[in-house]
């Protein structure tokens, strides 16, 4: 068994007995002069989570908010390394299949329950329980996770079915925030409404469709090692407001009714940049960029030539830059630039090339033309169905523009793209049934390049929650990625993940378009100290403080 001493300087400074002193020192002392401790911060975001317990389902809005009231076992840093959080230290077995976490002591959940090894075990059990309806967590864990056990009161051991080198990175996400066993036992519905963790804030109220109100956890002692300060948050209250409408959300920031907004609409970026009171903080998510996944089970797209033709014809860079007004960069690789082992040579593998596209399509036998000028083969038109969620606010307008641009570009080479607006229920059905679509726009934010396995492995097909939209079943890819998960050698990982990127690109299973970005805008004259943690781009409000009373 290899030991990995992991007590970084930062962690050591506030570790052990010193920790209490750090927390007790009082927040105000560490704040710059003229600023204010306490007060309410209004944070406006676009999408509302369906459940505040991030174990359930597992969509981005859940992690963003869960970070405020849940702590994870470890915290990831920008360079990909992890530092202690609820786990003070950990040991990984030689074969990479057993992890022992030594937990921080003296931590309590905000409902008074003690945080201990049993609690962590209960969390893993809840995640694996089908009743929790976890989606994201299961995709990360189920191919590897075997069991969790409490070795002692403060040591928890996790058994894996096979080695999983990205585990620590994975666990750093708020998707794996640790919740109070007592609260989880209330049942999913209640836990969705008001999950209980050890985090810096406590959920007070969720007014659906409007906001979540959180109050400071006065006894907060478990900030991660990379926090800007230890102890309770400066802010007394956080109002996490949902403002779906882009104009309204940005307007709220301009008028000071919100101190910070998440996802500055791309169309407002020029205004935001020009405004001296608005500071923007962009974070490029690691993981699979927003892509048009091509369903390889479809009659036309099963042919790699057709897929390549579609990619060549799409002018992916052009449609992104037009739709996102040049604010979002184009990304043509299968993982985005922020992801470890990103191979920049694959940044634009299929430049816009109408001739090549036409040649490929001719080659694939789509040589006929129907009366509208679309290509046909054996009397069938080359039609690709692209369903998207048309419920209000669900598909960002820029993405809708991308679909339209894509449609128009493909038309030039005789490929008909049919945009199918659908409501959420229909989209769920589509997700489950590969015969109902040819193309879907998807992304997958993840701190690890292993995300490729989640998105494109056969095992994902087995887990069957519709994440492998391309319906890829490729032995070569699976083997490469499993090997990468099993090795702990960075160089080896690098080589394997690069190979995977090449394989994905060569097969053109999807058309990568742009990396997902967290675009946080704050009123720099009102608030400071909000930072974005690097695993999932979660905003951290624990260190934020108001410069003066909000309006």
């Amino acid at each position: 068994m290899r030991r990995r001493p992991l007590a970084a300087a930062l962690a050591a400074a506030c570790a052990g007995t010193l920790l209490a002193a750090c927390g007790a020192a009082g927040a105000t002392d560490s704040l710059p002069a003229g600023t204010k401790e306490g007060g309410e911060l209004v944070y406006a975001t676009d999408r509302e989570p369906t459940c505040l317990d991030p174990h359930n389902n597992g969509d981005m809005p859940q992690t963003y908010i869960a970070r405020q009231y849940l702590d994870s076992l470890v915290s990831m840093q920008a360079d990909g390394s992890v530092v202690p959080w609820l786990a003070d230290s950990w040991e990984i077995s030689e074969d990479g299949r057993t992890y022992d976490f030594t937990l921080k002591q003296g931590v309590e959940f905000t409902d008074g329950e003690p945080f201990d090894a049993e609690a962590v075990v209960a969390n893993f059990e809840q995640i694996m329980d089908p009743a929790t309806q976890s989606s994201t967590d299961l995709l990360y864990l189920s191919p590897y996770f075997d069991s969790a056990e409490a070795v002692s009161e403060h040591v928890v051991r996790i058994h894996l079915k096979r080695p999983y080198s990205p585990l620590l990175t994975v666990l750093s996400q708020a998707f794996f925030g640790i919740e109070s066993p007592k609260a989880m036992a209330r049942g999913l519905e209640e836990n969705c409404q008001s999950p209980v963790g050890t985090g810096p804030f406590v959920v007070s109220e969720w007014k659906r469709g409007r906001e979540v109100v959180m109050h400071r956890n006065e006894n907060y002692t478990s900030a991660p090692a990379d926090a800007k300060h230890q102890g309770p948050a400066y802010l007394e209250k956080v109002t996490w407001r949902f403002l779906k409408d882009n104009t309204a959300r940005f307007g709220a920031l301009q008028s000071g009714r919100a101190h910070a907004i998440f996802n500055v609409p791309p169309e407002s970026v020029p205004t935001a940049t020009a405004d001296p009171t608005i500071a923007t903080d962009d974070f490029v998510h690691a993981g699979v960029p927003f892509s048009l996944d091509l369903n390889t089970e479809g009659p036309a797209l099963s042919d790699v030539r057709v897929r390549k033709a579609v990619v060549h014809a799409s002018d992916a860079r052009g449609i992104v830059e037009s739709a996102y007004a040049g604010v979002f960069p184009y990304e043509g690789n299968s993982i985005s630039s922020g992801t470890p082992t990103y191979d920049e040579t694959l940044q634009e593998p299929y430049p816009y090339d109408e001739d090549t596209a036409n040649a490929l399509l001719d080659d694939a036998g789509w040589t006929g033309r129907d009366e509208e000028g679309y290509r046909t083969k054996d009397g069938k038109t080359l039609t690709l169905r692209l369903p998207y969620n048309s419920d209000p606010g669900e598909t960002p307008p820029a993405d809708l523009t991308i679909y339209q641009n894509f449609q128009a570009m493909e038309k030039r080479v005789g490929v008909e793209v049919e945009l199918i607006p659908a409501d959420a229920a229909t989209m769920t059905a589509v997700k489950q049934d590969p015969t109902k679509y040819d193309i879907q726009g998807r992304y997958w934010n993840s701190p690890t390049p292993n995300v490729m396995y989640i998105k494109y492995s056969q095992e994902t097909l087995d887990i069957d929650n519709g994440q492998n939209v391309s319906r890829v079943a490729d032995e070569e890819l699976d083997e490469t990625l499993l090997e990468a998960a099993a090795t702990t050698d960075p160089a080896e990982q690098d080589a394997l993940y690069t190979a995977a990127q090449e394989r994905l690109t060569a097969q053109a299973w999807h058309i990568p378009l742009y990396p997902i970005q967290t675009r946080l805008a704050t009123r720099s004259d009102l608030v400071e100290g909000i930072w974005i943690e690097p695993s999932e781009g979660e905003p951290v409000l624990h260190d934020a403080y108001l410069l003066r009373e909000g309006l």
Binding site: D59, R208, A425
Partner: protein, 373 residues
């Protein structure tokens, strides 16, 4: 929906034509079948000049009227609830999924089945309908599937901003209508022409466009007003968006009536007694002119609620409109029913208030309640 706007006026003049010519162009909203009785000949009813009324019978008549109004209100609510119930059941998708966290959730089949049984979704539709009606009779609107809160609570919270919005829009509309009418109606030349042009343009402005333009100009470019809610300042733009078109419409109606009233002999008669034009406009004509507008205000309030859906979306306001949109898309039947109920109730109450306001302005109706109906 503003679609009805024109129909109202048109039907008003159509019915007005057949109704006894007590007030040209004005429809008393009390009896929808007025004028349908083919009274033979030109003999007016004897005793049309009859004098005194017995107060007792008038009260009895009022009570009867109130009772019958209540009865039809209940009938109306039942009909509305029934329509919503069956319509909502036509929406594809499983309400159990809505309860379990929306269409994107992925609950195991057992859980779904359990919820189906718990809520009785496995029962035949008519049995569900009976249970639904049973709940309604006990004034129990149930719990929202998605909000996990009682429908009454949700609506109680959300109706306040909507009512604030619609009420201020209605007030604004009246201010616009009366100002335009008093400044320009019945005046020849440029003032009248400009006034009536403004009204027509105002009335033709769709909410969705006006709202966006106001938002951009006043909130984004000039930054005079906040973009999103937060106190009375945030109410200005949404209320203006809703109120301006209605104001234009009311002004048109009021102006037409104002002009008509100005041509009435009683105006000449008043002037022959020495009244100034100003006197005549304020003391005689304005009241007449306001009548059809008041009659339409109840309807106007109803249309404002529909318009509020659009305005609430533009200005990201809280309110019943937003709730309705999300309730329908997420198949939250109890909430849809609740919102529909509230809107129908607003319609009923608004019409009742209109009746009262109308009677307050036009005392002829007081007499007619006692005597004719």
């Amino acid at each position: 929906m503003t679609v009805h706007t024109r129909d109202e006026t048109a039907s008003a003049s159509a019915v007005g034509g057949a109704a006894p010519a007590t007030a040209p162009g004005v429809v008393p909203p009390l009896d929808p079948t007025a004028g349908s009785d083919p009274a033979p000949g030109s003999d007016p009813a004897p005793g049309s000049g009859a004098g005194t009324q017995r107060p007792g019978s008038r009260w009895r008549a009022l009570a009867r009227r109130a009772a019958s109004q209540l009865g039809s209100a209940v009938l109306l609510l039942w009909a509305v609830a029934t329509i919503v119930f069956f319509l909502q059941h036509m929406v594809p998708g499983d309400p159990a999924l809505a309860i379990l966290g929306g269409a994107s959730s992925n609950p195991p089949p057992e859980t779904v089945q359990a919820v189906r049984e718990q809520y009785g979704f496995d029962q035949p539709l008519l049995v569900q309908y009976a249970a639904f009606l049973g709940g309604l009779v006990q004034l129990d609107l149930g719990e929202s599937y998605t909000m996990k809160e009682s429908v009454v609570t949700v609506i109680g919270e959300q109706i306040v901003p909507t009512l604030q919005l619609t009420a201020s829009a209605l007030v604004l509309a009246w201010v616009i209508a009366l100002t335009l009418t008093l400044v320009s109606a019945g005046r020849s030349g440029l003032a009248g022409r400009i006034g009536s042009s403004i009204e027509v343009v105002f009335a033709a402005l769709p909410h969705f466009w006006l709202g966006v333009v106001l938002l951009v100009v006043f909130a984004v470019v000039l930054q005079w007003l906040p973009v999103v809610d937060g106190g009375p300042l945030g109410l200005i733009l949404p209320a203006a968006t809703l109120g301006i078109p209605l104001g234009g419409f009311l002004a048109q109606v009021t102006r037409d009536e104002f002009d008509a009233a100005l041509r009435q002999p009683f105006v000449l008669s008043a002037r022959s007694r020495g009244a100034t034009l100003h006197d005549v406009r304020w003391r005689h004509v304005l009241r007449h002119a306001a009548l059809p507008g008041i009659a339409l205000s109840g309807w106007g309030l109803g249309s404002l609620i529909s318009g509020a859906v659009v305005v609430e979306v533009i200005f990201s306001r809280q309110g019943i409109g937003q709730v309705l949109v999300s309730a329908v898309t997420s198949q939250d039947l109890p909430l849809v029913v609740g919102v529909t109920f509230v809107v129908a109730l607003v319609y009923v109450v608004a019409n009742l208030l209109t009746d009262l306001a109308y009677v307050a302005v036009d005392p002829r109706l007081r007499a007619s309640i006692g005597r004719a109906s």
